[in-house]
């Protein structure tokens, strides 16, 4: 088999997409105007697929902090923290993240993807067992693979299924690592963390929760689903990202376990990569301070997602989960989802197209992410575009069955 033979299927799939006139997986935003608006194909477009949950990418304080760091420390660190040294901001951000969660320490990684890769590959290795929720993000699968650990998958959001697998492990359960997400990125559904914590407390093991889509969104102080459900004390590792609610790029893990610091020395995705740039660290620190300072943005975000969720339900669309910052519209099939996505863009609304096998159970989705920076008028405009697509183009929503 030739080196490029495996691309035949991909090339055919891309040709199908190109027939639309635009590749949904290669959209160019020609110019950003605000956290919620950009120019796409020369058109002023409402952005509703950015994961910019708190809208902090244009926050004046965050932008100013990044400017100051850029002037004072330069454009990049040009190396890894282990070989080339950490800047003071790296360590300060780690201390601030640890304080935010009330935990002993934190590690900052260069991307959210690398946070999962780095934690799983740093913590586990051949002979270790990692139990992962079936709908976990690719970074979690890839981290397990890099680690060479034994990966056991349990049915999505099914604590009883996890318990059965823990029972089968016998004595090995006490050292197993359970990995779940707070909010799952595709459907926007939440983990039953109380039940999962109960399984851990019965069988032993350690629990890692990825709060990429819930940091700054859920919880009284924005500390995610672990805070919202009151299980923070029973979670061993919390992983998160700077690239969503914090409006930057990078990732982290916080933990109360003293061993966390040693992960730095065993984690190849931490060791062999350049550290985040000074401007990224500075804007992230400021964004974390804004996030921690009050509930205003979370309240606005909640108002917005409640408004969009109710609007889409009223239009007769099938939504995959209860209201949240991720709102996934389930379409009848791949063709219908493609058509819906394209028609929305023509009407000045950018959302995400999600197709199998990236989606659970073969569903085709239009995924919206809501921001605190959306105005009620923008939410109404998004609803109006969905209404127009449904009535004028005859888009048919799926029966709301995501296989759950």
């Amino acid at each position: 088999m030739g080196l490029f033979d495996k691309f035949h299927g991909l090339a055919a799939a891309r040709r199908d997409l190109e027939a639309l006139g635009i590749d949904p997986f290669g959209v160019q935003i020609e110019r950003m105007i605000s956290p919620t608006e950009g120019m796409i194909r020369g058109r002023h477009t409402i952005l509703a697929g950015t994961n910019n949950y708190l809208g902090l990418t244009f926050d004046p304080g965050c932008v100013a902090a990044a400017h100051r760091a850029l002037d004072a420390e330069g454009t990049g660190t040009t190396g890894s923290r282990m070989a080339n040294g950490s800047y003071s901001g790296h360590r300060r951000l780690e201390k601030e993240l640890a304080a935010f969660y009330g935990m002993r320490d934190a590690i900052v990684f260069s991307t959210g993807y690398q946070a999962n890769l780095g934690m799983l590959a740093g913590l586990t290795g051949p002979g270790d067992v990692v139990l992962i929720d079936g709908d976990c993000h690719a970074s979690i699968y890839d981290g397990c693979r890099l680690a060479g650990a034994e990966i056991i998958r349990f049915r999505h959001n099914n604590a009883a299924d996890l318990a059965r697998r823990m029972e089968r492990l016998g004595e090995r359960a006490a050292d197993a690592l359970i990995v779940v997400e707070g909010v799952y990125s595709m459907l926007g559904d939440r983990a039953p963390l109380e039940d999962i914590v109960a399984v851990k407390r019965k069988h032993g093991g350690y629990l890692l929760v990825d709060e990429a889509h819930s940091l700054g969104v859920l919880g009284e102080r924005g500390r995610g689903l672990v805070e919202e459900l009151g299980v923070l004390a029973h979670v061993d590792f919390i992983v998160g990202t700077f690239s969503k609610s914090l409006g930057g790029a990078g990732g982290f893990c916080v933990s109360d376990l003293p061993e966390l610091d040693l992960v730095r020395y065993s984690s190849r995705p931490y060791i062999f990569t350049a550290s985040p740039s000074p401007a990224t660290i500075a804007s992230t620190r400021q964004a974390l301070a804004v996030l921690a300072a009050g509930r205003d943005l979370r309240v606005r975000l909640r108002d917005n997602f409640m408004r969009l969720h109710a609007g889409l339900i009223a239009l007769g669309y099938s939504l995959a989960a209860p209201p949240g910052a991720v709102i996934a519209v389930v379409l009848r099939d791949r063709v219908e989802a493609l058509r819906c996505w394209s028609l929305l863009l023509e009407r000045g609304v950018y959302v995400n197209l999600m197709l199998p096998p990236a989606t659970p159970n073969g569903v085709a989705l239009i995924r919206c992410s809501v921001s605190a920076a959306h105005t009620p008028a923008q939410i109404d405009a998004i609803c109006a575009a969905f209404a127009d697509v449904r009535s004028s183009a005859g888009i048919v929503a799926a029966e709301c069955d995501t296989g759950r």
Partner: protein
């Protein structure tokens, strides 16, 4: 411990529900090519098989599993461990 022929027979009835209709399941049936399963469907198939045999099958074995025979041998190994 389950015997290999019995494992292949039980796998056959599980797989019949997953693949396209009318495909005869033999030891040499290729899970991806013959049953037209994608990687996610294969992982979901494993969940069903785990319940049937009351074992946990590490996802990490998948790169070594192409045919029904490969999977049956892994199951024989895992049921033998109990």
């Amino acid at each position: 411990m389950l015997q290999y022929p019995q494992i292949v027979a039980e796998l056959g009835s599980e797989l019949a529900a997953f693949g396209p209709r009318g495909v005869e399941i033999t030891e040499d049936t290729d899970l991806l090519a013959d049953l037209e399963l994608d990687s996610l469907q294969v992982m979901n198939l494993l969940l069903q098989i785990e319940d049937r045999f009351d074992i946990s099958i590490p996802v990490s074995i998948l790169p070594d599993v192409r045919t029904v025979k490969d999977l049956a041998l892994q199951i024989a190994h895992l049921t033998g461990e109990r």
